[in-house]
Amino acid sequence: MLELIPLVIVLSFLFETMDSCAGMGFGTGLTPLLFTIGYEPLQVVPILLISEAITGFTSGFFHQEFENVNFKFKRPINQESRVMLNIAIIGCLAILLSVFITYYSVKFDKTIIKTYVAILVLVMGLISMFKLKIKSKNYKPKLLTFFSALAGFNKGIGAGGYGPVVMLGQIFSGIYEKTATAIVSFSEGIVSLVGVSAFVLIPVIQNTSIEIDFLLLPSVFTGGFIAALISPYMVRVIPNKIWRILIPVYALGIGIFVLLKLYVL
């Protein structure tokens, strides 16, 4: 029986709106919140991946439709598509690395690595705020590759925070905020699709079974999908100078939330 849970719809809508507008927060913010409400990891993680795969592509498509970005996949592919593919490929490798680490049961101290990512996001958010007055920025591809690899490494070792690090990394590398948001949304769609495939294929390869609970899927998908339609329009209409302030402030909020969740809540 299809069950819609209003609280989950509202939370998914809010976090996906911010994810599609500011390029971060759906995984980092919503996952611990759903755990706090009382849902189990197998009820949350695969469902968020499935939903993010669909909403990532939807949001990416409408970002293109509202001209926040101009992806061109016919040869020669343009810079924006190249950056998106670069981020997506590193993210896919990271997801596979995290599955490999889980498979071989390599143990990391979760508290330490999550604290490191929260502090990294906080520091990057603060630096972005200090850099608000600098207007002309040139695109620095090497810096972007460094941040994509750093975000991929964090995701690979299970520390999360992929969206915030890639998003702020793009801004540090001189990419226009509105376009950076669109690039992250589309690349997260590709990365999540690989994540979903890993969830489905790994048990098949290992000849084991994994029990995924689909209870939350209709609610998460409903909230996320509506947000993925509205957010690209909001990104188009609201001036970039607002996003320049809002994105680092939101990143600071996420960093503080992760630290509070680890040490206080």
């Binding site: 299809l2 926040n68 343009n78 924006e80 950056v83 695109y139 990419i175 509105k178 899927l217 339609l229």
Partner: protein, 60 residues
């Protein structure tokens, strides 16, 4: 002329060119307008949403 076109194309290839131009050249009111083709695509997306929900109702 050919050279000018080349420069123009190179400029359009810059990251964020379209978003930047829309931001600087259009007012908020102009940015709020939605093309008819986009409205059709939004309805198309809602159709996909209905199909997915129908499928979920069927399998869950």
């Amino acid at each position: 002329m050919e050279n000018e076109n080349f420069i123009d194309e190179a400029y359009k290839n810059e990251i964020g060119f379209y978003a930047k131009s829309i931001d600087t050249e259009m007012s908020i009111y102009e940015r709020m307008k939605i093309k008819k083709s986009t409205v059709f695509r939004i309805f198309g997306a809602l159709g996909i949403y209905a199909l997915v929900m129908g499928f979920l109702t069927f399998i869950l």
